[in-house]
């Protein structure tokens, strides 16, 4: 009978922590890239690290670093963050029915740490119900640790580089997003979304050079085009 007992919460949390370790290899370069982009944009060490600690959302942090560098307004940076991270509504919604038994504070803490990666490795455990929350905790804490360590590593690397503009560090930003975009182009609607978002953002940037709203406008336009094409199939 003892053998049928479920594993302890500690063991399950540890399993979640270990399950995400291979993904560190994919996430850590973005942490480094973010810290380098933040340096190129003129953000300080405390601000760069603080953003990783309390925002903990890679794509939006890279985007914010770029927008800070352009001298964007607080409103446009925060709205860009909201649009960029709106895709987190989906994993959160997918887990919600299976975590209702947890207290609000507990769910809030899991939500703060929720990422694409921790969702991907935990979703089936959570939906089957056997220690899913403990597994999700392990996976999420693992990725949080990776993000903080790679941000710190990027800060150290950035300090070794005397003048970021001379070596073309501004390219870290678009090249990072190319690495994210290319694997997501798996369907016609995804291509249409990317092309319309890119051209809209470019158009707005050229027409209104002083505005930093081109990211939000382009992303919303592209998402709508993608959703419309998807709905038609």
């Amino acid at each position: 009978v003892a053998a049928l007992n479920p594993p302890s919460r500690f063991v399950t949390t540890r399993d979640g922590f270990v399950a995400i370790l291979p993904l560190w290899l994919g996430v850590a370069p973005f942490g480094v890239a973010y810290a380098l982009a933040a340096r190129a944009a003129g953000l300080g060490t405390a601000e760069t690290m603080g953003m990783s600690l309390i925002v903990f959302a890679g794509a939006s942090q890279l985007a914010a670093a770029e927008l800070f560098g352009q001298g964007a307004s607080a409103a446009s940076i925060i709205l860009s963050t909201l649009v960029i991270n709106s895709r987190h509504l989906l994993p959160s919604a997918a887990l919600a029915p299976y975590l209702r038994h947890l207290g609000r504070l507990h769910r809030g803490a899991l939500a703060f740490l929720l990422t694409d990666e921790s969702f991907a490795v935990s979703v089936r455990r959570v939906q089957r119900g056997n220690g899913g929350a403990a597994f999700l905790w392990g996976a999420s804490l693992s990725l949080y640790l990776c993000w903080q360590l790679s941000t710190a590593a990027g800060l150290l690397l950035g300090q070794a580089i005397p003048d970021p503009s001379v070596i073309g560090l501004h390219l870290v930003f678009p090249l990072s997003f190319i690495a994210l975009l290319v694997p997501s182009l798996r369907s016609r609607p995804a291509w249409a979304a990317a092309v319309s978002a890119g051209s809209t953002a470019l158009g707005v940037r050229l027409l209104l050079p002083d505005s930093t709203w081109h990211v939000v406008i382009g992303a919303v336009a592209g998402s709508l085009v993608g959703a419309l094409l998807d709905g038609r199939r």
């Binding site: 973005f30 603080g50 953003m51 309390i54 794509a59 939006s60 770029e66 940076i77 925060i78 963050t81 909201l82 649009v83 991270n85 709106s86 895709r87 509504l89 989906l90 959160s92 919604a93 997918a94 887990l95 919600a96 975590l99 769910r107 939500a111 703060f112 929720l114 073309g168 501004h170 390219l171 678009p174 090249l175 997003f177 190319i178 690495a179 994210l180 975009l181 290319v182 694997p183 997501s184 182009l185 609607p189 995804a190 979304a193 092309v195 978002a197 890119g198 809209t200 953002a201 470019l202 050229l206 081109h214 406008i217 382009g218 992303a219 592209g222 998402s223 993608g226 959703a227 709905g231």
Partner: protein, 110 residues
């Protein structure tokens, strides 16, 4: 932000705090409020946010690095990065390839 006046630093921190609240809101809202799995329409509406946003972020700095349309070394570096991303799916390799091409062009052009 390179500016070290107190007001700028304070507003930088306020912006970061606003980013944290916005991010937490979208992560927590469904987990705290939803009782049923998401509908297909909801899923469809959000499915293409990622590619749209990545494209909106990367196209302007590659095609208009200084605010006016230009097919310069940035664009060529981006195309090289995309080719490497397609064949390797590797982030450091993508960034390294883009940099290598950018520097080769910068050194060979007057």
């Amino acid at each position: 932000m390179a500016d070290d006046s107190g007001g700028t630093v304070a507003s930088t921190w306020l912006t970061i705090l606003g980013m944290a609240l916005a991010t937490f809101a979208v992560r927590a809202l469904p987990l705290l409020a939803l009782r049923r799995p998401p509908s297909p329409a909801f899923e469809r509406a959000l499915r293409h946010v990622a590619p749209a946003m990545f494209a909106a972020l990367l196209v302007p700095p590659l095609l208009a690095p200084t605010g006016t349309l230009a097919a310069g070394p940035e664009l060529v570096a981006g195309v090289a990065g995309a080719a490497v991303a397609r064949s390797t799916r590797n982030v450091p390799a993508t960034i390294a390839a883009g940099f290598a091409v950018y520097w080769a062009l910068r050194m060979s052009l007057p």
